[in-house]
């Protein structure tokens, strides 16, 4: 969290008159309120997310036992009973849910019926894989999208602008799953430029688990061949994912920059005789960044959606693939785990967006 929200130094100082004390309280108040509200939101969201997933998953006209036991085993009532007992499915639904919440409080997400491992273990490999993919994609999207948007705004209504507009609209219109298919076919199958599926070449050992992001872990461990290999595997799926977000960010940055360009303070900065570069980077971009940050937060959500469709094609062992498998096999603990992680990511991204607001805009920070 940004230290800028911390109570100001002067407010911490010694006693004084009435207004002084009041100001001190005021200085602390927003932060406390902010944190409190955030925590409350997080808890509510967690309960909401788990409840929704729980109810939805139990609506499915299927039986987890059938999905997870073999053809023969399912014919044996003793085995089915044993399975239900093991996963607590023999208890009434409300009890199951409360038990789940109780375990959740202790950090226990339950055991996946599919993988027979704790959901936490499963997630600890799936989540970093997806974060690595989505993270790489968001970084690329931000760099490319923001630059495109700025260029389009500066070249408003001219050829470059029109071209970038078509490109960005193409980006948001192309079905991700189809693009993934096409990219894989062309760059891997036809041209052989991209390495195959998965996060690393077969036979290459994963770097020691620190963050779970192979590129970072490999770099930290100094395993450069592994690093480059991981980057190679990351490139194509990440680029496919960026199509949508680049389009989105381009369009947004463009309109944000255009709006700022129309502001009096930009005209005033030009009237000061500042070089165009300074005006662009210090005056225009700073203000245009505020809406862009919001959209970047949203874009991250869109990326997580995209991974569901892309991961299967690139055999990327991430959250999307895990979510799909869990949802279609009624793996209740796993689905709930995915829901929680996703909710958590949402909160974190929102928090990051808020913090960035504070960093960018003093009106948010200084009150």
């Amino acid at each position: 969290m940004s230290p800028r929200w911390a109570p100001s130094k002067e407010a911490g100082g010694g006693g004084g008159g009435g207004p002084r004390v009041r100001r001190r309280l005021l200085a602390r108040h927003p932060l406390a309120r902010f944190l409190l509200r955030r925590t409350a939101t997080a808890v509510l969201l967690a309960v909401g997310v788990t409840l929704v997933t729980f109810v939805l998953t139990n609506l499915v006209p299927g039986d987890p036992a059938a999905a997870n036991l073999g053809q023969r085993a399912i014919g044996d009532p003793a085995i089915v009973a044993q399975f239900r007992h093991h996963y607590g499915l023999d208890k009434p639904l409300p009890v199951q849910y409360v038990t789940y919440l109780g375990n959740l409080l202790q950090g226990d997400l339950g055991e996946s019926q599919q993988s027979h491992q704790s959901v936490l273990t499963d997630l600890s490999t799936a989540v970093p894989a997806t974060l690595e993919l989505a993270g790489a994609a968001i970084v690329v999207s931000l760099v490319v999208g923001v630059s495109f948007g700025v260029v389009a705004a500066l070249r408003r209504d001219r050829f470059t602008d029109q071209l970038l507009r078509v490109i960005s609209l193409l980006g948001v219109s192309v079905p991700t799953f189809w693009l993934a298919l096409l990219a894989f076919y062309i760059f891997f199958y036809r041209l052989g430029w991209a390495p195959g599926s998965g996060r690393l070449d077969p036979g290459m050992t994963a770097p020691p688990h620190i963050t779970g992001l192979y590129t970072i872990d490999a770099a930290l461990a100094g395993q450069w061949p592994v690093f480059w290999n991981a980057v190679g595997h990351l490139a194509l799926p990440a680029l496919v994912l960026t199509a949508y977000t680049v389009g989105l960010l381009t369009r947004f940055t463009r309109s944000a920059v255009l709006e700022v360009l129309n502001q009096d303070y930009v005209r005033a900065a030009r009237a000061k005789g500042l070089p165009g570069r300074t005006v662009l980077f210090q005056y225009v971009l700073r203000a245009a960044l505020v809406p862009v940050v919001t959209v970047a937060g949203l874009a991250f959500g869109a990326l997580l959606s995209g991974t569901v469709l892309v991961e299967s094609i690139f055999a990327w062992p991430g959250l999307g693939a895990y979510a799909y498998r869990s949802a279609t096999t009624l793996d209740l603990p796993a689905v709930m785990g995915v829901g929680l992680v996703v909710g958590l990511v949402y909160l974190t991204v929102n928090l990051a967006v808020d913090v960035l607001y504070g960093v960018i805009d003093p009106r948010v920070r200084v009150q």
Partner: protein, 496 residues
Amino acid sequence: SGSSAGKTLVVDTSFNLKTADPGREFEPTGQIVDKALYETLLTFKGSDVTKPVPGLASSYEQSADGKTLTLHLRTGAKFADGSAVTADDVVFSLNRVIALKGNPSFLLDGVTVTKTDASTVTLVSKKANPALPFILPNPALGILSAKTVQAHGGSATATDGAEKYLNTASAGSGPYTLTSFNTNTEVVLTKNPKYTGADKPSYDKIVIRNVQAPTQKLNVQRGDSQIALDLTSDQVSGIGGGLKVDSGASSDVIFLLLNRNTKVSSTTANAKFAEAVRKGIDYKSLLSLAGSGSVQPAGIIPSTFLGALPASEAAGRDLAGAKAALKASGIAKPSVTLGYASDLTVDGLSLQTLAERVQAQLKEVGITVTLAPAPTTTELDNYRNGKEQLGLWYWGPDYPDPSDYLTFLPGNLVGLRAGWKAGADPALTTLGDQAATTIGDDTRKTLYEQIQTKLNTDGPFVPLMQPSRNTVYAASVTGVAYNPVWTIDVAALGAK
């Protein structure tokens, strides 16, 4: 890359994997993994599943009543940790499978395991169990080191907690040990230097990766992997680049089910209607979907098994006959729904595709088929509870013995799923009981043939096909052989 020089073998398959614990696993990928990690008492050689051969047991005898099986253990067998394989380990391992009540526990239904002496184990079944020697090779019945398993929370009771450990390391005497295990991504096996079996493994390391079929093809073509296990005939056709293909009929039998329960559908319960369906299907056209290598079984028992009906008895299309039968059924404009698992593929052939073609074929007869695809989970529930009017499923053998197919008889597991209650066909039931307890291949063969012939005319099942099973492999790999129980024995592969 790979091949003998690197001593790493990469096998691509589409994972169906939950655990590496033999007492709990019964999924195709689990079978591949455990086959390499654990030795079983008896085993099969290559593709030949008609004759069990020695594994950890060097020989066995079966009693005349078919109830007792005595096994003599091979001397000198050692686990990967160096300790000797004892009769106690065998008793522990098999009892554990029974007690866990997991997916494979039915293999030893009604069997008690006792140690006779230090090198002899006796298996006694409640009923005559002539199939037991064919069951024992199943990798789920692999022998674990009792000491190691117990040290990690294992016990031969329902509260056994060794699964977690067995998913990180192996406790067997097989040619490989487990290095890493992930049910979603890949499994890595490392050569067991202390392996005491006859044929030492060739590769230092084997990586089994979870890859979807289309990608498997690209990978193996580009040399990223050496073996692709799940390619369809379409995908295999015209594959070049020095790759070899091992094709043959799979032992999975895809069949149509017509529910006998009038409450579910009075249409499908109608015998004449069933006949119309049976005659209305164009089996050859279905085979063309599965490509070369696929065959049409004449009965429910796959063509390579004992008791299979000769191919000449296979049904063929008779459109006029079908229409006549439909007329005779008295049902005007029949309309039924066909349930199937839309996400299920059988040896690369998607049930989806098959269902669409069946729909089109029956339309020509005058039967309206509404497709009702559902995720496996949901559809399995319908199937298991006998709620499907028409169902499209397959049966993969649990062990390569025709007795596995008695489940299709009235009142039995699959029979019930077709609404075929016990006593619905007493003659068949009697034949079935006889077949289950009779010993002697020839007698059994005749009995099973009779059962199938009767099933084909009176039963609610229409066997459609055994899809083709293609293994694509690099020229450097030798010893590739498809086995219906464990698909492929990766430890038996050699390098050129």
